[in-house]
């Protein structure tokens, strides 16, 4: 591989790095050392791959969406079915990996932040399986809109702590998880759910999620005698996108598209699209694109999908944007909803609202590229968790 980032202090060009209070510096160094050791360790990797196969159900299928391709009338569409993973999203790939690391580091308590609740559920799941205490921080606004996932976490034995500070969403849950970690560093492992946070999280989460792209590489050859022309994934923090993109990063002929949430439209200011409409700053341990005021205060975001409702983005995406390797676009709430219905009715698959953003952009791109091209869209999760949101939005009572 010619692409070799981050550097040893976690930088992707000017982005990434390690911006935390002193108390966390040594624990992060220990985590980095453990990760560096086990990423090369055959036994660790074998256990990780076994868990993904036997517990998560990998490989997830690469599905040729023929009816959708025909309906859209453009490029051939393949869907990477992360929605079929155990717990219903790509998030579990990462929590399995970090849980194995937690076990090897002798940590007896696991904490996590969550927005949509998918990462919280995936964390509660691995904690149940390890038999360790699990605390999940979740903004009280998100608790309201993701009630089913909250209950799932409780069933799994996790304690869900509502976060009432700030905007009461994902960013505040992350703040609170960091505060817990700083207080309980000795026995606690913090499982971050996306490619954000301080080094080594962005690289580590990317590496665990890269199984997505590695599978696509061999799966596509069953149908196509060539590489895809474009890869499309939604970007909240950016972990499902990095997982799909990373194994293709040196293949410049494969275009990479990250899809942010435009909410009610970029021009309205009610969105969650830092790469499309933000600027660089420092939050949650790394330098990246942020949504912020002229004074450097982080601003509230808006998206119909809780999993994309985050004012920052993983630092590697910031770098891929600046150097032009990936392109970042944004899809509005309404467009995502339309794509949700389209996939449900045409292919019989209910996508998560997050993934529906990728679907909506995939439709535009399919037309643009034309019928001799191939697009892989990451279907990062299933939509069951969003059924209430969609019904409410359409004025239907369940």
């Amino acid at each position: 591989m010619t692409y070799q980032l981050p550097d040893d202090r976690g930088h992707f060009g000017p982005y990434g790095g390690l911006f935390v209070a002193e108390t966390l510096m040594h624990p992060l160094k220990e985590l980095n050392e453990a990760y560096e050791k086990y990423r090369e360790d055959a036994e660790f990797q074998a256990e990780f791959m076994d868990d993904l196969r036997l517990y998560v159900g990998r490989p997830s299928p690469l599905y040729p969406a023929k009816r959708l391709t025909k309906k859209w009338g453009g490029a051939r569409i393949y869907l990477k079915r992360e929605d079929l993973n155990h717990t219903g999203a790509h998030k579990v790939n990462n929590t399995i990996g970090q849980a194995l690391l937690a076990k090897r580091m002798g940590k007896t308590r696991i904490i996590a932040e969550t927005g949509a609740g998918q990462h919280g559920v995936a964390t509660a799941t691995v904690a149940a399986r390890l038999g360790v205490e699990c605390v999940v921080y979740m903004g009280s606004e998100d608790i309201k809109r993701q009630a089913i996932n909250v209950y799932r976490m409780k069933l799994l034995g996790a304690k869900v702590v509502p976060v009432e500070s700030g905007s009461k969403t994902l960013k505040d849950a992350l703040n609170e998880a960091l505060r817990d970690w700083v207080t309980n560093v000795e026995n606690t492992f913090y499982i971050i759910g996306t490619v954000a946070g301080p080094h080594p999280y962005p690289a580590m989460v990317r590496d665990f999620q890269s199984v997505i792209g590695r599978e696509v590489r061999y799966q596509l050859s069953e149908f196509e005698p060539r590489d895809p022309d474009a890869l499309v994934a939604c970007v909240g923090g950016g972990s499902n996108a990095m997982g799909l993109f990373y194994p293709y990063i040196d293949d410049e002929h494969v275009a990479l598209y990250g899809v942010e949430a435009a909410g009610e439209g970029i021009a309205t200011g009610h969105h969650a699209a830092p790469l499309s409409a933000g600027r660089p700053g420092v939050l949650h341990g790394n330098r990246t694109y942020l949504m912020e005021t002229d004074d450097g205060q982080i601003i509230e975001t808006h998206s119909i999908s809780a999993g994309l409702d985050y004012p920052g983005v993983g630092p590697e995406h910031a770098w891929l944007k600046d150097n032009g390797r990936a392109r970042y676009v944004a899809i509005k709430d309404d467009e995502a909803l339309a794509a949700f219905h389209e996939l449900t009715r045409i292919e019989g698959i209910l996508p998560a609202l997050e993934s529906s953003h990728a679907m909506a952009y995939g439709q535009k791109l399919a037309k643009e590229l034309g019928s001799d091209k191939v697009i892989v869209i990451n279907l990062s999760g299933r939509g069951d968790k969003d059924v209430h949101t969609i019904a409410a939005r359409e004025g239907i009572e369940i």
């Binding site: 202090r9 966390l24 500070s165 207080t183 450097g296 205060q297």
Partner: protein, 278 residues
């Protein structure tokens, strides 16, 4: 000699431990901050630590989080904080002021502009909580160019190598975080604090301030026996919040100043009974 060096050296010569109260700028009202700073000096503060409000104060406990939220709601910016220091300087030329906050507002302003305006406003030191020495080269250079002291934290988790990295970068004083946790937590271990202070002193001649868990005069006095400076934040900010809530209308400012004065006086008295660290 910087204002901080001058003040801390002179206190040491007098055999006294410095008292550093912390308040959040603009809490509960921007119109009160400068008066509060003067009142704290009159009650015995040697250095003032002024918290710069930030939307995501990751190292703060609930008390300072709420103060920061109140100030952010009032629109108090980094620039406003420096304006407050400038106003303070019109009547107080000697008491050092340290800004304590998070990196992002400084990033957005730009290191050079920030350092220039801070120096011009009469700021003396800058503590950026989420900026460890590894990432601090550029900011430190900008601060040093304007004769501002970069203040860094040392934590209970800091290894010997980390303590050395911090002391190599810092000037003014070293800020030892007395517990694993956020500001205002209640589980400080005095034996550990004592051991760690001994350890840190092996690597630096800089004065050592201790803070994060000091919430009453008794604890302040015990820490004063070990450290060169005692920082008290949450306990003070909590009083401001309580008094503000009780006096929503007329007389709020006077009530807050009175309460803060009483508390700072009690801290001063407790600390002065102890004398300087050996």
């Amino acid at each position: 000699m910087s204002r901080l060096d001058k003040q801390l050296t002179s206190l040491k010569e007098q055999g006294r431990t410095a008292l550093i109260p912390f308040i959040t700028a603009g809490d509960p009202d921007p119109a009160i901050t400068v008066s509060l700073m003067h009142a704290m000096v009159s009650a015995g503060a040697d250095v003032i630590e002024l918290g710069v409000p930030f939307s995501d104060p990751m190292a703060e406990g609930p008390v300072i989080q709420r103060a920061s939220e109140r100030a952010v709601e009032r629109g108090v910016s980094l620039r406003d904080c420096m304006d407050m220091v400038q106003e303070f300087r019109q009547r107080d030329y000697d008491t050092p002021v340290v800004l304590m906050g998070y990196l992002n507002p400084i990033e957005v302003m730009g290191y050079q502009d920030f350092a220039r305006i801070a120096a011009k406003s009469g700021v003396d030191g800058v503590l950026t909580v989420d900026m460890p020495p590894e990432e601090a080269t550029d900011l430190r250079a900008a601060l040093n160019a304007h004769k501002l002291d970069p203040i860094f934290l040392v934590a209970p988790t800091s290894t010997k190598a980390r303590i050395q990295a911090v002391t190599a970068m810092a000037s003014g004083f070293i800020y030892y975080v007395s517990l694993r946790g956020v500001t205002g937590a209640k589980h400080m271990d005095m034996t550990e604090v004592s051991d760690r202070i001994g350890e840190i002193r092996k690597y630096t001649q800089l004065p050592l301030a201790v803070g994060f868990g000091i919430n009453n005069p008794e604890t302040a006095a015990r820490v004063a026996a070990l450290a060169d400076a005692v920082v008290v934040g949450s306990a003070l900010v909590k009083r401001i919040e309580e008094v503000a809530n009780r006096n929503q209308n007329d007389g709020q400012k006077e009530a807050i100043i009175e309460s803060v004065t009483t508390f700072v006086l009690s801290l001063r008295e407790a600390i002065d009974k102890v004398g300087v660290a050996a």
